[in-house]
Each structure stands twice: as structure tokens, then as C-alpha cells.
Symmetry: none
Subunit: 225 residues, 4 copies
DNA sequence: TATGAATGAGTCTTCATTCAT
DNA sequence: TATGAATGAAGACTCATTCAT
């Protein structure tokens, strides 16, 4: 279910020492680019944060644009991997839908809102996408292009099991995610880390509203009663 | 209900010619800043787009930071004004809640997604707020702090009228907006203008789910039957 | 003994209103140039300080270099006038040489160290002379070229009267001035205003040493006993 | 008696190649700053004169203000070192006070008036100190605060030996220096190099007057007879 | 004459990128 | 590979000067 590392990663030499350096560089680039934006980020700052020399950055990844692309690819892969890892824990045959869905939502919020990689990626996409549209083909494919259908598939299974009632699973998946991130977007973008209690409250609010909206009306709202 | 112009606008001399220039500068600044980000925007580019000399920019608004703040204040004011203008059309005593709420949602989407001012402002906030939090003081005061309570108040009125059922109006208002923008966020940020049909579909989806979730269960879901 | 105003002053129109503006400009220029140096001074700052518009500066005096030259000429004239006014009070036939010479030295210190014009001029000369050597022909002629001989002539009269003993009046005049300004130079350049008591002490120290050095040895140190 | 190099010098890396570059930069800065003033000097001009790139200036010393301070510290140190080297040759137990003091004065004049470092420093202090007092902290500590007392101590030793008669050694030291530089100040500031003969004459004039003023009257003026 | 705007140049500072060691 | 230096190009900001009103 997860995407293999070499799936997205740009070409790189296979020497493990280089790998390490390259990873350090991409990590640093992710941090700096997402904090400073493409224009505001300086190669030197990235090199310093990565603990390598400026030259090594150029040797390993090339110029600023190549570095940016490599980093987006890397983050996309990591974020995707985290998402699908959580998705595997979706409660397909729950005994208590409400509580298990809340738990799942919590896990999702945590990868979404607590993993710096995901946050950075989202931010970068929203910041730089219009300037480098070609940079985000990879992201579009592995990001929303895979995530919403994957969630939709899980929701459809719940509907098949008669636990909820759905017309359009894709729409429902988008609305599920929207409700989940409704209260978190601004804070997270501002850099705040929500507490466990907050994550729980937010997940509960979202799932409650979602289940109220998509309750299986035929035989009451399952898992609510 | 709307906010008077002088409410937010920073001090400026009243000479109408200056006003015109100043407005041209702020418009240009909004466009360039939102496309290039704070660090990536150049004062010269803004001056050229505004059709004035670099000096005039400095004379009218001061340095880059002041220019940015003035522009945020201006956009905030415009966006706020548009929002409250639409809010005045909220169906407080609807004959057909579903359809009137959809119409309202369409109007809201249009100000939100079609007005460049709003789009730029949102983009800037999401892009730059964490890097330069001090640049957004005006927005913080007039933006989210006023919009959600205003929507919440309308929803509360619907609840009082028995048309929907609410525990937490503020939460409901956030979820209403989240559902509304769920399908639009990324595309709009990328610069795409949704068609009227799309807007209508999106509004319908959002309102339908919202009303299902907050239906007045005591006597059926009004407006749905 | 004093130099007529029109002696040095550069050409200017004779309209008294213009005169006033021109004077205000030159005063402001003196203050700004001496505080900021030629390169550091801005025409705008001078115009603001003079209470006129930038254009008026250009109309009245021309460009920055012309303004500088006009101001040096003006300050030279004022400083010279003050010096010669004090010089007229030199004790040529003193009843008590020591005390009358101290009084004279005090007056000299006051014009030298308390009149901003003199201080500014000195500073400007030392600052800009190497860059604009031609600007200081006027100053050389009216400054040291006239002051030292004038003092020397007074000292020679004292020597003729047998009150002091001199070989080289010019040298003595230079040493007299050097002793007088020995303790004051740095402080004054830093902008400090010495108090009356300090001026008195400094003058006393200088005159005492001077008279000890140039005492009429033939018949004791006159005026000391 | 001399001040060790590391006493004043600001922190710098110890690599001799860097040292050389750094020194070249500071030398160039001294020349340009003293000719053009702080505001008038351009970093580019300094870099060109130092034969390095602009970047190297920024890497080695930082921005304009840091460069200025580093240069003042360097000049202060050099000037101080030269002064104290000469001071070590002060005739404490002279066989012929007059001639040995003249020789000493000549040496002092030469370090004062022939060493560009000293001249530049003096000029900078008189030009910029009131405008940028914070730039001269190092100088204030190592400059006048140490030189006058050091001279005063030597004069006091002469007085103790009964060779001169002093009330206030500090005052006498200031007057000694004032007489010495009385004839030299303006010319030197204008960039003129006095000839050996002139230096000798000036030193003789100063010392003669000084000794006449401070002759040990109890037993005749020693060294004059 | 005063005001505001415009032009063009210049200065400080930073940066991406490359080269030599 | 790391380091320091160099180059060339921005970009922010200021300024002298001129023009129009």
C-alpha cells in the first residue's frame, strides 16, 4: 500500500554515504524552503543546516531549482507514505463506528498536522505552485490524486456494510477531510502544534458531524446510539 | 453592517490624486506580493505594475514592510466589505431553507473565489503569516475574528427559528465554511476560476451535507422534505 | 577692521525677501553640512531645516556644490567678523597684563568655541579641505592668513611696551592660540559646550604659561608681580 | 610599555592568508574612510583599493559599520604602538635637557605627522566622532586616555629631578603637545609632509617655549645656560 | 513659490554560482 | 570534499536633479 522509496525519488548515486548527505540536504532544504519560500531561501542556509558545504549541495543536487524539485519529490513521497500507513488502520468492520472513526481521524490529524514533512509540503504547494506548476505534477499524482480515492474506497466499504449512506464516495471523502481540517488549518499554518486533547476534540467534532450527515437513515444512525 | 472605509485603512493624505496613486500602488502590490510572496516581490515590479515611479511608492507608503502592511489592510477591508455585503443576504426567515441557503452559499463562494482581493489575501495569509506574523495584525483583527461569529449568529437565528438544530454555533459556522470551500481551495489557489455550474454544484453539495448533519430532528428536516 | 559683508559673499539677488530665504538656506546648510559632512548631507534635509522647498534651494543657490561653496564663504565671513570684533578689545596698554589678557582670552574662546559658525567652519575645513581644495582659498586668505598676523601685531605692541619679550611675533601668536585651544579642541569637536568656569580656567592656564614663557626677563615678569 | 597586538585587535581568524587579506582591507578602509568620510566612502572603492572582491570585505569584516570600527581599532593600535615606542626614548635623565627634548619632540612629530595611520586616525576622529560617537569606543579607551598620562609621568620625573618646575603634570603634558602641534595641524591635515628641517624647527620652537615656561626657577633654567 | 512626481544614478547588502586549493 | 574567494546580478533604499502644476 505504501509507495516504495525509489518510486518517486529522483536519480541519485547509490553510495550510502552520499545518500546520507543527500538526505541531510533534502531535509534541510525542506525546512528552509518551507519556512522562507523559494525566493527567500538561501543555498548557504540550507548547506549550513545540512551540515555540509555549499559545494556539496551543488554536487549532490545541482542548482536551486533542481534542489527544490528534488525536495518536493522527497516530501511528497514521505507524506504519502505516512498517509497510507495510517490509512491501513481505517476501521473497515468496526464494532463501534463513531469511536473507531474518531480514533482513525486522530491518527490522520497527527500525520497531517504533526509531521513537519506534510505541513511543509502543503505550505510549499500553496506558495509556489503557481510559479512552478510543472513542479507539482508529481504531487498531484501522489497527493490528492491517490488520497481521496483511497479514503473514498474505505467509506464505500462502510456504506456497503450498511453503516453509513452515501451517494458520492469521492465527494464524501473530500467533505470528511474538509471537516477534519476545518479547525486546524490556520493554526497549523501559523506553526502551532495542537495538543492531544485538541486533536481529539477536533476529530470528535468532525466525525460527529460527518456521521450525522451520512447516517444510514434506514435503520437509525449506527454507532451513534 | 459593513465596515466603513476609514475603519481599517491606514492613514493617508486625502488628496484624491494621491489616493488614486496610492490605490494603484496597493492594487499592484497585492497582485505582485500574492504571486511572488513577500521575499520574492520586488518594489520595482510593483511600481511598474502600478504605473508609477519607484520613488512614488516610497513617498506614498514607505518601505517594503509598510507597503505590505498597507496592502494587507486594504485587502482585508475590501474582502471584509464584500463578505458582509453578502452576509446581509443571509436567509434568516427562509421559505425554502435548502434552496435559499444554496443561493446564499453561491454568493459567498463568488465573493470568496472570484474576487481577486479575497483570493490574494487568503494566499498571502497562508504563505507569509508564519514567516512574518507581525505583518498581519490588521487582518487578525478584522478577518477571522469577525467572520465566523457573524455567520454563527445567522445560524443561531435559524436554530432559534427551529429550522436547524445546533449545539455550538461557532463550530457549525466553521464547518459550514469548511464544507463550502472543501472542493475549491486548491483549484482557486492555483488561479482557476470555477464556472457558475461548478459553483452551484459545490454549494449544493455543501449545503446538503450541512443540513443533513444539522437537521432539526424534532420535526423532520425542514426544507428537505 | 571687520570685513564688509559683500566682501566675500557670492553673488545673489538683492531682493530682501530673497536675502532672508537665502540666509535661512545658508544657515541650514551650515548646520547640516557640518553635522553630516558633504557626502552625508541631503538637500532635502537642508530645505526642511531652512523651512523652504527643495526647489527654492536650487533657485537661490544652485546645486549641491554651489550651495556648499556659498555656505563656506558665508561662515568664513561671519567667523572672521566675530574674531576681529573681539580682537579690537585686545589690551594694548594694560594696567594688569595677566588679568586683562585672561579676559581677552576668555572672549576669544567664547567666539571660537561657543559660536556655532566658527566651530562648524573649522570642522568643515578639516573634513572637506582635501576633497575640495579650491573651496578653501577664501578661507585661507581670511582665516589664518589674517588672524595670526593680527594677533602677532598686538603681541608685538606688548613687546614694544616692554611688557613681554619676543623674538618672533608670528610664532608667538601661533603658540598663544595653541595653548588656548589645547584643552578645548576635542571636547568642542565632540559638541560639548564648555561652561563659563571652564573657559575661565582654560584661559588662565594658557595665559599663565604664555606669560611665563615670554616674560620680560630684563625687569621681572611684568604684570605677574 | 608597548601594547601587545592582540590587546586591541578585534577577533579575527588566525589563518595568515586571511590575515593578509584582512589587513589589506583595513589599510584600504583607513585610506578611503579618512579621505571620504564615513558617509562618503564606498565599500566598493575600499574593496578595489584592497585588491579583493566586495564579498571578501563582507566575509572578513561584515558591514560598513563593523568595517569602520575594525579599522579604527587597527589604527588606534598602530598609532598607540608607535607613540609608546617613541615614548620609551623620552630623556628621563638627560645631560642636555633642551637638545635631548628637542630630539624626542622630533621623533614624536615624525610618528605623529609622518605616519599615515596617525594622521588618518586623527582626521577621522575629528570628522566623524560627533556624528558616530559609538564608532570610537576603542579609540576612547586607548587614545587620549593613555597618551597624556604617559607624557605627564615623564614630565613629572623631570620635575622630580629638579630639571623643570611643574604644578600640574597633566596640564603641562597637554600644553607640551599643543605647542608641538601648533604649527603642524592644518598642513598635515591637508596632506602635506613637513620636511626634516621643518620638523626640527617646529620641535625647537615648541621645546624652547615650553622650557622657558616651565624652567626650574630655583637654580636657573637648566640646559638653557 | 511650493508640491508631488519622475528619472537615473549610486550605494549597501545579499545571493547564486563557479573556481582554486 | 570542504574552504575561501571571486564574479555578476539583483534588489532595497536614498539622493540629486528636473518637470509640471
Amino acid at each position: 500500500m505504501t509507495i516504495a522509496t525509489h518510486d518517486i525519488r529522483l536519480a541519485s548515486n547509490a553510495d550510502p554515504a552520499s545518500r546520507t548527505k543527500r538526505d541531510a540536504i533534502l531535509d534541510a532544504a525542506a525546512a528552509i524552503f518551507s519556512q522562507q519560500g523559494f525566493a527567500g531561501a538561501s543555498i548557504d542556509a540550507i548547506a549550513v543546516k545540512a551540515g555540509v558545504s555549499r559545494q556539496t549541495v551543488y554536487n549532490q543536487v545541482g542548482d536551486k531549482e533542481k534542489l527544490f524539485k528534488a525536495m518536493v519529490a522527497e516530501l511528497t513521497q514521505r507524506s504519502s507514505a505516512g498517509f497510507f500507513r495510517v490509512l491501513d488502520t481505517f476501521p473497515i468492520s468496526p464494532t463501534n463506528l463513531q469511536s473507531e472513526l474518531v480514533d482513525f481521524a486522530c491518527r490522520l490529524l497527527r500525520t497531517y498536522s504533526c509531521d513537519p514533512n506534510s505541513r511543509w509540503l502543503i505550505k510549499l504547494i500553496e506558495n509556489e505552485a503557481s510559479r512552478y506548476p510543472e513542479l507539482f505534477e508529481v504531487w498531484k499524482e501522489y497527493g490528492p490524486g491517490r488520497k481521496y480515492p483511497a479514503i473514498a474506497a474505505r467509506l464505500a466499504q462502510l456504506a456497503l456494510a450498511g453503516l453509513i449512506e452515501l451517494d458520492d464516495p469521492i465527494l464524501a471523502s473530500r467533505q470528511f477531510m474538509a471537516l477534519l481540517t476545518a479547525e486546524i488549518r490556520t493554526d497549523v499554518l501559523m506553526g502551532k502544534q495542537p495538543s492531544d486533547a485538541e486533536i481529539d476534540r477536533i476529530a470528535t467534532n468532525a466525525v460527529t458531524t460527518f456521521l450525522k450527515a451520512f447516517a444510514a437513515r434506514g435503520h437509525g444512525a449506527p454507532g451513534l446510539g
